[in-house]
């Protein structure tokens, strides 16, 4: 028996757990917990440690499926998995959520985080949620990845559809395992499908309900320790805010202007990702400035800045929803 391993990673809500459930012949081992951060905008439960499933490819070959948690605050699990559980994996599947404002930012982030791991392994980029957001398309991905110096395979999949996720498996082990009966495998896995059994109209309406229920500000406040948020548009006018302190609100706005001024005055600096201010008794103020939008967050001083950054990154990536 040949045992293969593959590791699925990607941002929160990119479909890692769903993809593994679609492929697994066994009841998957998952570690779901109630969402306690900005991911509430997209789902109610999230993976906090890992997902695991097994796919019997043939009588002689088996594929072990591992999934990382998406949140960066569970990064220690990425390390544990890379150095132990999947150190001998065939490849890394990076799931990319096409509804994020800048999917390439996620690709850069994960490729950097898993750089050492993918040096000697296959990297497959699997784009998900393209039924909700068709652009960027396959050609655009290939063009951008080439510009980034990444020469890899890009596959568009629907994580809920086993036959679609099987394309990844074919790409990964198909050339080495010639005896796999792919159509039989596809039939067997059909029971794992979690494709909605509703009309397109109903599906669109239920998707809209989900995002309408939780606003960007509500999602920000779902993270313990975040006490206020302000969201500004490209013209730097306030789109929404729940920062109660007038002084903090003004400070956040002036910090956003400061970042813009710094980038203008010292263009050689490059893009400033964030500016954070802390004080002994004060709430921590953080701003994240992009061309099209800016986000300011107030947080308890005990909350790690890295956690605040991760939340801000997800909030900005889903801001259009």
């Amino acid at each position: 028996m040949t045992d293969y391993k593959v590791l699925f990673t990607g941002s929160v809500c990119s479909g890692k757990t769903t993809a593994i459930r679609s492929l697994s012949d066994i009841e998957t081992v998952d570690t779901d917990a109630r969402v306690s951060d900005s991911a509430i905008r997209r789902k109610r439960k999230t993976t906090i440690a890992m997902d695991y499933g097994v796919l019997d490819l043939s009588d002689d070959a088996r594929l072990h499926l591992y999934g990382t948690p998406g949140q960066e605050r569970f990064k220690f699990m990425w390390e544990v998995m890379m150095s132990d559980l999947v150190h001998d994996a065939e490849g890394l599947v990076l799931l990319v959520d096409n509804t994020r404002n800048d999917p390439f930012k996620d690709i850069r982030f994960y490729v950097e985080e898993f750089r050492d791991f993918i040096v000697r392994r296959r990297l497959i980029i699997a784009v998900t949620h393209s039924d909700e957001q068709a652009e960027p398309d396959h050609d655009y991905y290939m063009q951008e990845l080439k510009a980034m110096g990444l020469f890899t395979t890009v596959i568009f999949i629907d994580a809920r559809d086993p036959s679609s996720v099987l394309k990844i498996v074919k790409e990964l082990v198909g050339h080495r395992e010639k005896e796999i009966a792919w159509s039989e495998l596809e039939e067997r896995l059909a029971v794992n499908s979690s494709m909605p059994q509703v009309t397109e109209e109903e599906h669109e309406s239920s998707s809209a309900d989900m995002s309408e229920n939780v606003t960007l500000l509500d999602a920000a406040m779902n993270t313990r320790g975040i006490t206020g948020a302000i969201h500004l548009g490209a013209d730097r006018k306030v789109l929404s805010s729940n920062v109660s302190s007038k002084q903090n609100k003004e400070l956040l706005r002036s910090m956003i202007n400061l970042v813009t001024a710094l980038e203008t005055k010292a263009s050689f600096l490059g893009h400033i990702d964030d500016l954070v201010l802390c004080g002994p008794q004060q709430e921590t103020l953080s701003v994240f400035v992009e061309k099209e939008q800016a986000l300011g967050l107030c947080s308890d001083k005990e909350l790690s800045i890295n956690v605040v950054k991760q939340q801000a990154m997800d909030l900005l990536q889903w801001s259009q929803r």
């Binding site: 002084q247 400070l251 010292a266 964030d274 500016l275 954070v276 002994p280």
Partner: protein, 108 residues
Amino acid sequence: MTIWHDMQAAGLIHCGCVLLNGEVQHSCFPAESKKQLAVAKQALMYVFRSVDKSDKDYDEAHIEIGDALFSGFKLDSDRLLIFLSEHDTNTLQIRQFIDDNKERFLQL
């Protein structure tokens, strides 16, 4: 072992310096990082000058640019500590180190 070595050995920073009234008083920025020091100094002083107008009690600022994190910590009304570190450095640990070693920094 200097205080800079201690911080580097603990994986907290790449390099750092003390500014006294805006002038470099003590530094471990290598010659090849002169430009980064100039950037950090100007940017952080600019930030503190602007923020002081609203609230003088903010004593710590971090600017993340790509893989680099430029941090500024007010030691007192005249002295500012500046560090260059990895973008994902735990800044709470840097703050703790400064609090535990404030006298050593003031003696530089």
